[in-house]
């Protein structure tokens, strides 16, 4: 295609948006509504994934050390644990420290168990390199010398993994469904705008325009529709997310989990919405005009 022809198609597609007035607005609205849904869903999904993976990565094995184990033996046990090839960090927590944690969580009553009455064990907190290796580490640790027990949250961790897995699967499914609905909605709206221009297309064919030549301005028009239709969803998602981030972050602060910080995340979401808008606009337009181009 010549540059002058491409330039013509660009100008023509923009003029056509203007000429088709209300029809263009109808198409914008369809894009806007669907992209708004896609944008909100994507924001939720990506954050659920983020928090889920935070939780997932947070799973650690607590290796309880037999009481009466000497420092030397503890060191030996630490080395043995380090030898497991999927072990990441190992942190020592004395029984006094453990009791402090219990008091912090459950109340001052537990101060009674201070000093020699402390029934707790010294603990190695072992984190796995990959979350799914937690179970393996726990099992291996249980068999080691000087180990009283190795706990990893057992069934509850497994359950958590399966919930996260489900959220991700369903999230992807719903996103795909929504995108399919969006293409359908947009191609239908654009079909109506094209239907009203059936005569125009017939005339173009009569003067010898090839299908490609006729199609390009329509496809570009669809792309513009997608691009302009993405503006409102982007504004809403950006401001909405920044507001929610402030509100939710405050209440999440104590848990140690974080939402995706707005900076990079919003740039990604915005680019994705623009990209999706342009692509589904162009595809919707291309699909709906196929039937008018059969000679």
């Amino acid at each position: 295609m010549k540059i002058s022809t491409f330039k013509r198609h660009m100008i023509e597609s923009l003029k056509s948006l203007k000429r088709n007035g209300w029809m263009s607005i109808a198409a914008f609205s369809a894009v806007t509504v669907t992209l708004l849904l896609v944008g909100i869903l994507l924001s939720i999904l990506m954050n659920v994934n983020k928090v889920a993976s935070d939780i997932e990565n947070d799973v650690q094995v607590r290796v309880l050390i037999n009481r009466g184990t000497t420092k030397k033996q503890e060191q030996k046990l630490k080395e043995n644990l380090e030898d497991l090839n999927y072990v990441g960090k190992i942190k020592f927590s004395s029984k006094a420290q453990e009791l402090k944690n219990v008091i912090g969580s459950y109340g001052k009553e537990f101060k009674l168990f201070g000093g020699d009455d402390n029934p707790l064990n010294d603990v190695f907190v072992v984190s796995a390199k990959k979350p799914e290796q937690t179970v393996k580490i726990a099992k291996a640790a249980q068999k080691m010398k000087y180990v009283y027990d190795a706990k990893y949250g057992g069934a509850s961790a497994k359950k958590l993994f399966s919930i996260v897995d489900n959220i991700q699967k369903w999230g992807i499914g719903i996103s795909l469904l929504l995108l399919f609905v969006a293409v359908f909605l947009i191609s239908n709206t654009i079909r109506i705008t094209i239907l009203s221009r059936k005569n125009e297309i017939a005339i173009m064919r009569l003067v010898g325009a090839t299908n490609g030549f006729i199609r390009w301005p329509f496809i570009l028009e669809g792309a513009w529709t997608g691009l302009f239709g993405a503006i409102i969803p982007i504004v809403v998602v950006n401001f909405g997310y920044m507001w929610l981030y402030k509100v939710i972050s405050a209440s999440l602060a104590s848990t140690g989990y974080h939402l995706l910080s707005p900076g990079v995340f919003l740039v990604q979401i915005d680019s994705l919405l623009i990209f999706i808008g342009i692509v589904i606009g162009a595809i919707g337009s291309g699909v709906s005009m196929r039937r008018f181009l059969r000679i």
Partner: protein, 229 residues
């Protein structure tokens, strides 16, 4: 050059619109296609620009064998033809200038060439001053002149006109004929379907009469009605 050899056209509702058409139209000829409504004139015309396909037989236009032609080649055939319709078929949302320019844009001519050529043909049909107007701001005769300007913008060898004066008053119709005559005098073949007896008698050319799907008369320099002799 246009040639029909043993062309039959039967529509799905069993109407036979062309029964063994054998016609040869030489380059530079002016030919009227006449006959009552529903006789098969439009089918004959539409087969020339491959809007309709014959059921059997051969249609050759310039060097294109239309019955063998692929759909994707049709635009290239149409670029060698200028087509004028009774209802003008102008793009209502484009200005006069843009309507004419469109025919040149589809064949990817350079913008400078398009500018010059469009102004030239608009001048030829006497409507250069209306270049910025929209079709609905023009009279019927003016719209038809624009549609002729569009048809000849690409210097086609053949102009096919389907009832070009059908919606126009006699004076305006004469104006259109003057333009077509001028185009023909420069060597362009003109095929014109018409109901207008006055025009056929006034501007005499070869007459092809179709009735009930048959060619009933093919007469050089004929009048609208067959001479009783």
């Amino acid at each position: 050059m246009i040639e029909f050899k043993h062309v039959f056209k039967k529509y799905p509702n069993n109407v036979l619109a062309a029964e063994d058409f054998n016609v040869k139209i030489k380059q530079g000829e002016f030919i009227y296609v006449i006959g009552p409504s529903g006789a098969g004139k439009s089918t004959f015309i539409k087969m020339m620009y491959r809007e309709e396909r014959p059921t059997s037989g051969e249609v050759t236009v310039n060097d294109y064998e239309l019955q063998k032609m692929k759909n994707s080649e049709v635009p290239y055939l149409r670029r060698e033809l200028g087509i004028v319709f009774q209802d003008f078929k102008l793009l209502s949302k484009l200005t006069v200038f843009e309507n004419v320019a469109y025919a040149l844009q589809v064949i990817e001519k350079e913008p400078d060439f398009i500018e010059t050529r469009v102004n030239y043909v608009l001048d030829l049909v006497g409507l250069k001053h209306k270049a910025a107007s929209f079709p609905n701001e023009l009279s019927g005769g003016e719209q038809q002149r624009i549609s002729i300007a569009r048809a000849i913008a690409n210097k086609p060898e053949i102009v096919i006109a389907d009832e070009p004066t059908g919606n126009l008053d006699p004076d305006t119709a004469s104006g259109i004929m003057e333009i077509l005559e001028r185009i023909n005098s420069e060597g362009t073949t003109i095929v014109m379907a018409t109901h207008n007896s006055q025009i056929v008698d006034e501007y005499t050319h070869r007459v092809l009469e179709i009735d009930g799907g048959k060619i009933v008369r093919d007469q050089p320099e004929g009048g609208f009605f067959q001479d009783e002799d």
